[in-house]
Symmetry: C2
Subunit: 289 residues, 2 copies
Amino acid sequence: MTDSGTIAPQDGRDVRVRAHELAPRVGDLAHNVGLIDAAIRSAVDDGIELLVLPELATSGYYLEDRDEARRVSIDADDAVFERWAALLPAGSVVVVGFSESDGDRIFNSAAMLAATGLLAVYRKTHLWDAEAEIFTPGDEPPRVVETPVGRLGTVICYDLEFPEMPRGLAVSGAEIIAVPTNWPLVPRPDGERAPEVVQAMAAARASAVAIVCCDRSGEERGHVWTEGTSVIPSDGWPAGSKDDRGRVDATLSISPTRTRIGPYNDVLSDRRPALYSALQEPADTPTAD
Amino acid sequence: MTDSGTIAPQDGRDVRVRAHELAPRVGDLAHNVGLIDAAIRSAVDDGIELLVLPELATSGYYLEDRDEARRVSIDADDAVFERWAALLPAGSVVVVGFSESDGDRIFNSAAMLAATGLLAVYRKTHLWDAEAEIFTPGDEPPRVVETPVGRLGTVICYDLEFPEMPRGLAVSGAEIIAVPTNWPLVPRPDGERAPEVVQAMAAARASAVAIVCCDRSGEERGHVWTEGTSVIPSDGWPAGSKDDRGRVDATLSISPTRTRIGPYNDVLSDRRPALYSALQEPADTPTAD
């Protein structure tokens, strides 16, 4: 048996968040940097504290090959990050996906920025489809970063579909997970949300962690997107709605008691890690109990 | 980026499943055994291969105290299990929740039965709410059991809300997870499914594993249930609909290629366990990358 929501949030703080669904132009770095500039300025004007932008917002997604990808990739120490950071007031954070060059390698990365500069870069660890032809998978897990909006983690798109990823970030203390995505439109039953949104909702509720997914829009080389941008508070129910500029704004209440879901239960401390380790060992020959 | 459903199932086999939402009477073992008898007979008549019944179907849920629970609990070697097994044709499996006595201890358990007898007993490892006043938590993880309907795992109710549980069973080879539940009715936004169903859908899709959740009905000591009984194939979208006797029937197609979701991707082999272990270690002091 299970229940939810019986404990009122106490001493929470509010964070004004926005996920802004952009339509980058594939292979056109200058154009896309301009889009991101404008999105950041607009968020700052509107008092947004956490702005999440799409995966590969600087480059577009359907890059033809490594040569095209290389031309549109930037290093993590590129001056554009400091320029974006300089637009931010103290207290604000931006997470934006970019195609990262590092010597010969290219990563599908996300930058986390505050007024103080670049806080962290995460390199996507689970590559989807033909991404592997262009990108090197990251070999470091995402980290929880202390930011002006709280303890923030980032994963990128397909990463989120591995339950270990949001769960691990939550166990490591994340209060909010920012998820730059490029979700292609796939068939689904009438009346259903995109399946990736269902997974985000479940991940949020399972760990009482807010999840902010920023998808993209526009058509790119014949591909369209699910446009499933969602701001999901720690109760798992999407908040806010998208305006005609592709923006979902919502206020997240981050309560220190959010993981307590009843007098006896806490979704994180009720975990039994020793059992989970044993569960994933090669199964014994099953026998009757 | 992510996608789904681009690979057609190949060489799959079909399993006719039913989740039958019963309304046990609290504390009335004889009555409840009768309900279960009838449900098994009816499933056999209807050619059902896997029947899943609710959590604590033998005892009811809101037991007053350990004394009442003890009076209605049965040992795992109780003759009733052999009697139920004897009703089954070869090829059929039943999973039913029961209040299990073992010396002084009482467990919230599930029995897995086939024509050959009791295949396994799983004892709920994550206790919800005041269950801890009555039940001892199990200290063994669920196991994947080779059954006539395939590789089957069982968890009970709140267990399923720990993403580690369905994921671990799937990684250990489960094709189907049976989930006896007693989900209390809790507030949710208009038009939404019960939140526990959202979590089951996400767990199914994340690991391409079918999940069969059997809730209960009836009012018990002032409590009612979400009646969210759901048969969820490995694509994550609920199948079938409930008839006026509380039964959801559906045919699950269990394909050996179900975890392959595209030419480059497999939801299980794309996992990166070493990163997940590192992710859950105490975070380093976060620094700029």
